[in-house]
Symmetry: D2
Subunit: 304 residues, 4 copies
């Protein structure tokens, strides 16, 4: 009896599919102004950050998610000096951006001041000192509001937002109008990357709809995905821009740029991983082409 798991966390993928994960301890459970927050220790994935009931990242595989989100865009840009991050409160996206020696300034705007606090206390490896880096400007406010007010433009923009849950803070940041605003904040030749939800099409169409919405604003939309075990399946990203296409680089060029620009080696991403990320199955490419829905302010879209 003592050895049977008795404490469980449910990650609802859909109302009909739950990932049920043994919990060994629950160091934090509470609420910020914007979302429910908990930190759980699990034998499957180590310590996990959970926001509004969804695992946001786990010690064991957050490197996959954050490298897959950050590096495809950063490497595609010929010389990324200024970077804007929306969301990403736990600091790991910032951490990956700062590995690029070309970066001179990284502005990160997150609405929720409490999540970084909790992460610094319970999951310090996520930011790993990034918040102390002198290149960083950290701002706690609504990213939409910040962008409306700032005059600044950036080489690279990274959106690391929680999924568009009906109750969550992020759903307005998944609209055509927001993407149009972001487009204006990119310098000439700039590039943007974002996470866009699960790519298991049996689970949710979020990814398809986000990718189609992006295609109404950006001529180049390169969807890709990576397997993040603690998310219970492959996770989707998109790299978008007016001109730069990550798919035009060879794996060898990727490896050359990484070798030259990074201040430490990566664990997930390199030329071959890049090729895996951007080579989607036939049925999935077909679904992307067939998707016609566009998310707008008036027609928001919610993930379960």
């Amino acid at each position: 009896m003592g050895q049977k798991p008795i404490n469980w966390f449910w990650d609802y993928v859909t109302p009909n599919l739950i990932h049920q994960i043994t919990v060994e301890a629950m160091p934090f459970i509470g609420k910020s102004r914007y979302q429910a927050v908990q930190v759980i220790d699990t034998p499957s994935f180590g310590r996990c950050l959970v926001l509004d009931g969804k695992i946001q990242c786990s010690e064991s595989d957050e490197f996959i998610y954050h490298e897959a989100l950050v590096h495809p865009a950063m490497v595609t840009h010929p010389n990324p000096e200024t970077v804007f991050i929306a969301g990403g409160g736990e600091g790991a996206t910032l951490r990956e951006v700062l590995v690029h020696k070309t970066v001179k300034k990284a502005v990160m705007v997150d609405i929720d001041r409490k999540v970084p606090e909790i992460c610094r206390k319970y999951l310090p490896s996520l930011s790993d000192g990034a918040f102390e880096d002198s290149r960083v400007e950290l701002i706690y406010m609504d990213a939409m509001k910040y962008l409306a007010e700032t005059k600044e433009k950036f080489d690279v923009i990274i959106l690391d937002l929680t999924e568009p849950l009906e109750e969550g803070p992020a759903y307005q940041l998944f609209t055509k109008e927001f993407y149009q605003g972001l487009n204006k904040k990119l310098k000439k030749g700039g590039i943007m990357a974002l996470q866009a939800g699960a790519t298991s099409m049996l689970v949710s169409p979020t990814f398809l709809v986000v990718v189609n919405t992006l295609s109404k604003v950006f001529p180049v939309v390169a969807p890709c995905h990576a397997q993040v075990p603690s998310f219970g399946g492959p996770w989707g990203f998109a790299v978008v821009s007016q001109t730069l296409d990550p798919r035009e680089l060879t794996p060898e060029e990727i490896d050359r740029r990484l070798a030259k620009r990074l201040s430490r080696p990566l664990r997930f991403y390199d030329g071959i991983a890049y090729r895996g990320m951007f080579s989607l199955p036939k049925y999935f490419r077909k679904q992307i082409v067939q998707e016609k829905r566009v998310i707008t302010k008036d027609k928001p879209f919610f993930t379960y």
Copy 2:
């Protein structure tokens, strides 16, 4: 999503029946030298103490369990002055014993020093000052060893032991040999009460086997039960002695004795509740009569 329960505790009733209970917080999780210990907050039952995966008591209904364990024996005895408690580390059994103004001395022996510590910190209402009562002698050691060494005899003995789990500390205290030893520690006219497991016969035969084992040592064995919601069903007790039979008192006599002897009113127990506890359904009385198994040192018995 934010409102759906996502943290759950499983109370295994059997391998095929699990009570799945929402957890709001987990203030403590750890191990003592003898057992796994956790404290959980639940919307269903308030704060609960869990030992080796089983809910031992909950804030919301521990009064039922502890009153049902203690008072039938105490009230049946004409003048209980000295009481011995084995187990009951959380202090609530002691608390109920001390309500009887006749009590001059209560000796409590528990093997696990850590459980009372945790309970005093996280569940102080359980002992409610009982450990500070000057009538109390508190000893942390193996109850079996203590009884083998002591010369003392008692008016009332209460066994508040965890179930005889294969991995738990208590299974040796559910044997005929142990009951024989206890019998010698009762003063003339003394009486003993113990918890003896679930009485839902569909779930486990523990109660039947314990009651039959007791009947090999004590001429009077009065089985009874009470509904403890957080245990997921009715819970069984037995009151045993050489001569005193609780079933010979009228409800009116019970109420008279309670009114005279107690220093505060009870919530669960009185004359009518007494009648409910000792009036078992026909099929259940038949099962008790038919049970032939006896637990001995050489033939221990384990609950799932």
Copy 3:
């Protein structure tokens, strides 16, 4: 792996408490016009009938529920010749009524024609030939409508209705108005019994509110309960009338009447079980007295 349970049924007690039960087979799953119906085989309780997600009865312990529902009223009546049953489609309530040799006519009205069909095929022991008994009149229609139209009066009325779920067919049959109507269908000296939900007060106040509602119509309201393992806790009933009080009989008189009137022995109910059923704990009797809510047509009440 092959031996680990992998198929489970969830009986939601509340949104925060689920009884999770291993399923070995699912011989039937479907819908009638009024409710979702399934038949499941479980190692814990044998074959079970499930209506709208709730276990209605299990092969292993339906005898407890049905004896506890039927016999207290039947035995209290000095000579029950005519009986009306509302609900009870599976036929087991009827089966228990017919055991009384005094019965000359039993009228059973259930709204759902499909449930008896399914039970006759998959759970034939429930009705055990009762539908073929020449004393029985079986009618499939709304019991409320039937009673409004009939001129007949009865010695005993038994309400064996599913709980007042918001989505279920029965909630209108738990109102003061319906009870007033029933009162007029009782012959002089008549008596009525009904199931009234779980009596674990931590779980639901349904029982308290139903009992208080009954007390607005009937001078005698005798609440009682019995442990039904497959329902996950004690289950409440009430025996009500203008004059007859079941609590005035002695256990010995109960046993005398049963011996004289029944065509076969019972398994759960006898004089001692009767005393257990009607002797409620102190806190519970207090809750019953304190309850002030009354269910009316305009103010219906729903169980979770």
Copy 4:
């Protein structure tokens, strides 16, 4: 209540990670001589075949698994005329093999006669007429025994075996000795493909150990993976041979060969999907290189 899911299937990924999936119906549940078999209908994945507690394939995504298993090897071979399949009782692997117009003979050997029977009745789209194809020779016996006795050699061998569970029938077919025997059954220039377990390294090392074991027998070992949603994560395969390396073909050549050789179009596999399957992340390639365990008859390996 009626709409809340109440019937669930548990797919144990590890003892600490369960995929909990709503079940709508359970058309079949039973045992063959070799394994527990059930067919379940799920809103998440449609109808699923479950062997020994593991989802083997679902209507909604079996095309991914079976195309990923069969076509990489078939397309790499310049002219696959004779094919041997071990396992694959449900017929879908055979179905994919037969799509290749080059195939003149396909021998399929499965130990369990009952699984194909059940699949033909409940999941006919899996074989889709393959068992009736005149090119097919179907044999029910131990594949190991068959191969020991036959003199025949094949252009392509496909192993579609259940995972090496301790209780399952297949674990002996995951040994170096078995792979050595298979090597002798390949014609000159022949090629073999097999499924080799989950590639989420947080979940199980099976894939790594199988791939390393293969490398002791075959000079060319090309590991690859594909996302199969109903398996709860990416699934691993290996294509092995003495000389032919699937990684030497270009996506364009893959597409050319598919266009020329197939009798109907595929849904998952094409040149781009091929590139995705064989381009593994950096950390995963490193794990493959570092793995040193070899499975032998004397040192079998079991998946949870």
